[in-house]
Amino acid sequence: MDSKHIEKLLEKYWNCDTSLEEEKELREFFRGPVPENMNDVAAMFRYFDSQQKQQLTSPDFDATLKKKIKQHRPEGKVVKLVYFYSRIAAGLLVVVAATYFVRQEVRKAYPPEIADTYSDPKLALEETKKALLMISKGFNKAQKEAGKIKVFNEAEEKIQGKVLDEVKKTDGQI
């Protein structure tokens, strides 16, 4: 390669005017044998070259990393699921407990009915009689009250009758 061309490129390089391609060209050039006066610069470019080849030399790096990544992933999900289900369980527990207590309260407020009497005909008859008697009492009372209404009606009719008679009388006089 033309050494003048290289010198020009080098000058551009020191002034930071070289493109990436030109810098690559310089690197290529300094990989080969170089004139004595360019030894330092060559060492620099070779240094850059060698640095780029440097690698993360750890055989278990990828494996350790993947392990850490995998450990991280399921952990988060399990915690989330536990939260999710415990929420539902808590809700159900509240509903069940509430139902239980309400039922107990209802039972206290309405004690069970007196033992039913269907198995004993005599007792059943008595109960029925009692019930019927109560109804008939109520009936009688109502009839009495209704009788009072009759008296009122009669009185009203009488008054109306008298008034009509009077009206007739006065009509006659006129």
Binding site: Y13, W14, N15, C16, L20, E23, K24, N39, D40, V41, A43, M44, R46, Y47, F48, S50, Q51, Q52, K53, Q54, Q55, L56, T57, S58, F61, D62, T64, L65, K66, K68, I69, H72
Partner: protein, 170 residues
């Protein structure tokens, strides 16, 4: 992003991340830790990353930030000798020439390690990794002007050292 995409697109960048972290920290063990931290971060944040355009530059930026965090907590300049991967394997060289090359490399490594932090970052990204100016801006969160100024200073610091070395025959 599933594990397969991660392995194909993100994991191969690990060497670049390692070199950058190593340049900043000067310790391969710590650089390795940083790279692992970066990759786990990327994996955990993969849902938010759907709209990241340049995944590689993004990973490099996280590497820079985590490395600088470590550096700050450590407060030590990275001037350790080069550890691995700098040997040039040239069959035709004599042992003497080989040690000379190694010495030269060592010297350049020290020169770059002695640069201020920003200049060191820029010269590494440009001259070792071959990133474009735009990508360097993105990685370092700097504007174009700052990137160019830092690169110019870094390259010229190296050049001046060469001039001095030749003048005094060091």
């Amino acid at each position: 992003m599933n594990l397969e995409v991660f392995e194909n697109r993100v994991l191969p960048v690990k060497n670049k991340l390692f070199r950058f972290a190593f340049r900043l920290l000067g310790s391969s063990e710590e650089a390795k830790d940083v790279v692992q931290e970066v990759l786990i971060k990327v994996w955990n944040g993969r849902e938010q990353m759907a709209d990241v355009q340049n995944m590689e530059a993004w990973c490099m930026r996280i590497t820079k930030n985590l490395s600088l965090d470590r550096l700050r907590s450590r407060q030590r300049r990275a001037t350790d000798p080069i550890e691995e991967g700098v040997e040039i394997h040239h069959e035709t060289l004599t042992p003497h020439e080989r040690t000379e090359i190694h010495e030269n490399m060592q010297r350049i490594n020290e020169m770059i390690a002695a640069l201020p932090e920003k200049q060191r970052q820029v010269i590494h990204l440009r001259d070792v990794e071959g990133y474009s100016y735009n990508e360097i801006c993105e990685i370092l969160e700097l504007d174009m002007n700052q990137v160019k100024v830092n690169l110019f200073r870094a390259r010229n610091a190296v050049r001046e050292k060469f001039v001095k070395m030749n003048a005094y025959g060091l």
